[in-house]
Symmetry: D2
Subunit: 336 residues, 4 copies
């Protein structure tokens, strides 16, 4: 069986997923949709697929699955439509910036017995998987304290920030998902601090650029997250998990594995500077996992509920940063 | 001029300081005091000094300075007595576990125009000084976000914990001082989470073994501190300072700089396992700095006020961990 | 223009090159030839190309270029035939195990004004290219001393060793090429030592498994090469170039960029264990470079002469190891 | 029992040893001798010892052992005199630059039943000892191939080079000793290449500044040594031992364990720049080992024979570099 794909949205991330489909055994790219003709044409040129409208793809009998790479505010509706049409759906995070709407979508998917995977590519990064495997193999005993460090090379444009939902929902949300994955226990309490340190313009947009978060589970496990929107040395992505028997860390990826020594010292190149370059392997592995789940009917590796839980943490962190109080997730979930 | 020393307390740390005095040019160890005769004798044997009582040292005209290495609950009284007697005083942290009493001592020292240095040896560690020098030289631009990771190999005995004032006042206090030193701006807000993960017996003593803290200054700079009482791989002491122009990190110290490669991978030895071994150079440099300040009359590099500020942060962190609310230091200082 | 390819030989390396062709823009795989029907079929299945005989490919008007991945003893004849047929030829090293025959081939290619690239993939490895770029950018001043460390995870089968020409012509030859590339000056003198340390069976085949070589150029630059056929920690591939102004090194590639710390120390995973995995990017870049040279008519990045020079060094090293005398390449070239 | 010392020669290395004596339990510095009054006085000032002439020390009944830090051409005579006087002798390498004279001295020491330790401090470096311990503990199986990299920050003055015996006898000799220590089997064959690359003035003195050596034992174990007189990044001292079961490496020592990251990459400080700073711990441990051997009467850890064997390797390497032929040590020893 080959899973036949439609890709909705031929922007940057749509192109990444189109490439992944082309490289995965048992997957075929049948059609792409994008209101920008040139974008759709570039996918067609590279992979020889059709160009169709979203509506045509929805109605296509030769399409088994879609990848939703359209703007965030279209995600919820598209998921619902395509699930109702019996297609498997891979949707970029988030399901929706509004928790209540995200819950609705999850309920719809469940009611339709639909298949939905929400894209949290970091879980599929080979290094992070090796780290997770080491934990699961008992290399560090019981997980106790996690430190996640994520720093962007630079802030996105103001236009993007305006509709991003803010740093917690746009950037930290990936760390929230990694935290949940590694803690293997739901978070009960969220504390956060947030500042604007790199660009006053970000404050004008009502957003932050420098945040620290402490998550805590019912059993007392803790996770700290450090985010900034500016790192001069590249895209900084590190995980450190401390356990009863030891610790395991995942290191950064550099432009090249070389080192120059001279009177100034020993210098290695900066980090890979772009999330798509850093996570190339993760994006491919994520689509392969989706294809495998569609083929075998097994559980999706990351679900709509994962998307919702990460979003709840983002909302709680924002609230904590604003109020200076720890937010209890049970209460937050009930109130939402 | 030679600074003539009395050492009060010939325990573990007293012996470290006696050795430092012996190795510093322009310092001489004249006398040691300890109620345990064998402890005092061992210092006398090694360095050829007198054994005297604390009272005798207080009255000794051939003593210019003392190092206070006695139990914490004697620090405040000894500082006051020796400052009044015109001696320069180096006192191990803390001045007192009670903020109000610590303030009294600082006032007494000021009123007597006395000389008091409080021992925060980490500021004198050669690596940390190189890190600080890199910051001061502009290598990373303006300081924005600091990450301090301190993990003890194992918890101290229950007896010690009982009188320690708790993990924030006993262990994290060193990180609070490092944070103040590197932030170069007073902390305004403290958030903390605290758990017991390594040994339920620590909960029985009313203490914690695993804590995370977020500090924030008025200008929005932040510092996270991660502490645990158990690290199977040794005494873990790391600093990472992120700034507008880059980042600087200080790495751990290992038992040896070797690496073995085989089918299991590439293995370097564990870390130095004991704070006195890890900070050997720092302890010596700290005493050298004290001697230099006594000789030249210049400002003490770490003062009673530094001790007080770190203690205030410890109290605030404990309060935040208990209440789940951020603590405003202005308010905490006023209330204390 | 698209370069239309025939691949001669569908074994392990033939499959690697077929994949590279598929991924390079402006290249198309038209046909594969292999006496083993299943091997040819597996390439056809993956890439949708024809299966033809070598003779058919030679006569095919829709083939512009071939990749020679057949056994070593067929290389010389195939290069000559295909060059005479006007095809561009990419041939895996070596051109021939016999220096005299290799010279003949090079002369034929020149006489036919043919296009021949000999596969030395290491020159196309991204890390090694970054190292070379650092040298070319003046990061280390003038090159003086090079250290090449190449260790295989394990020896090839006895059958392979028998027809390999021996360790110098089979394994060290890659280091000889890297040495020539980085020295940027021809080698004049070769000294070598060779032992059998990992498996007495290798001695029975008249070969060695552990060798060290010193190369020296006319201006006195030197390069040492260390090879062994057994490294328990994976495929060890390192370059260190020391110059008048500094040094530059290329590091190994690991299975994952993680590190586990516990009472046994800090352990990173072993190295990638297989040359095809380690040099995946290099194999793709090598074919891309060949395609570019074919398209533009520019000089081949690695030529038949490069293959010959490396082979001469291998012969000289073997002679030095056997006689215990330095071999002068001028003399060796004249005698050959 | 306290070992009472005389130090012959109060130059740079004499001062290092005087300091080591002061810090070793069970050792006392009684007297120093130096024709330069200021040099002797500076040792007296620091350690409170007598100043005596060499003849007086020879006749002193309150001296048990001497440390010979005088110019190389006085070593042989001083060793013989002091051994005949019943003193234990620690002598800096070499015993003599002439192999025949060195043999005589060793015979004299044997005939007198004397105690002689020749200073090869690297064997006492804590990292190198940890490396040796890993080998002895079986961490890498049987030793097969060793790579020694030693690079000086800069060449010594011409005056020094003139009387040094040349780079092999002055610099590589330390690597020859380390090679013998780690191979644990005598070297049978020596091959060497030598160039002048850093300063033509060194060629004018008949010396080299850039050398590579391959050593080979009877069982086929090999060791390569790389030396240069110029490394812009500091004093480069590395060992890598490859064995049947794995590999073990000793890493360099830096000025500080910090790393700065910015747009230029990740930079660690240069290496310690001076052999005395790099080997501070080794020099102290070496004297401690000498004191222990004197006290207990146990075998000296490094003997006159070790000095002779290293010198023989130096002579053989020089001969190989000059003749372009491998030198057989059996023959060289017989001819000497």
């Amino acid at each position: 069986m080959t899973v036949r794909f439609g890709v909705l949205g031929a922007g940057r991330i749509g192109q990444v997923h189109a490439k992944a489909i082309a490289s995965v055994d048992g997957a075929a790219l049948v059609a792409v949709a994008d209101p920008v003709a040139a974008a759709a044409a570039s996918v067609q040129d590279k992979y020889g697929c059709d160009i169709r409208s979203i509506e045509q793809i929805l109605a296509s009998e030769d399409i088994d699955a879609v990848i939703v790479c359209t703007p965030t505010n279209t995600h919820a509706d598209l998921i619902e439509s395509f699930v109702k049409a019996g297609k498997a759906v891979f949707c970029e995070k988030p399901v929706d910036l509004d928790v209540a709407r995200a819950r609705q979508v999850i309920e719809t998917v469940a009611a339709e017995n639909g298949r939905l995977m929400v894209g949290f590519q970091r879980r599929f990064d080979p290094d992070f998987r090796a780290l997770k495997a080491a934990i699961d193999d008992g290399a560090i005993g019981a997980v106790e304290m996690i430190t996640l460090t994520s720093r962007d090379p630079g802030a996105p444009p103001a236009e993007y920030i305006k509709s991003s939902g803010g740093i917690f929902r746009d950037m930290t949300i990936h760390d929230f998902d990694v935290a949940r994955w590694l803690l293997a226990e739901e978070v009960e309490t969220v504390m956060a601090q947030a500042s604007v340190l790199t660009d006053p313009g970000i404050a004008d947009l009502g957003d932050y650029d420098s945040v620290n978060v402490i998550l805590r589970t019912a059993s007392g496990k803790q996770c700290t997250i450090t985010n900034t929107r500016r790192a001069t040395y590249g895209y900084d992505q590190r995980i450190e998990v401390h356990g009863s028997g030891g610790s395991v860390s995942a290191m950064n990826h550099r432009e090249a594995n070389i080192e120059v020594a001279n009177g100034a010292g020993y210098t290695r190149p900066p980090l890979l500077n772009f999330f798509m370059t850093r996570y190339t392997a993760a994006y491919a592995a994520e689509i392969a996992a989706f294809v495998a789940a569609v083929k075998t009917g097994s559980a999706m590796p990351t679900t709509g509920l994962d998307g919702l839980r990460a979003l709840e943490l983002a909302d709680a962190a924002l609230q904590s940063a604003r109020t200076g109080q720890a937010v209890q997730l049970g209460a937050a979930r009930a109130a939402a």
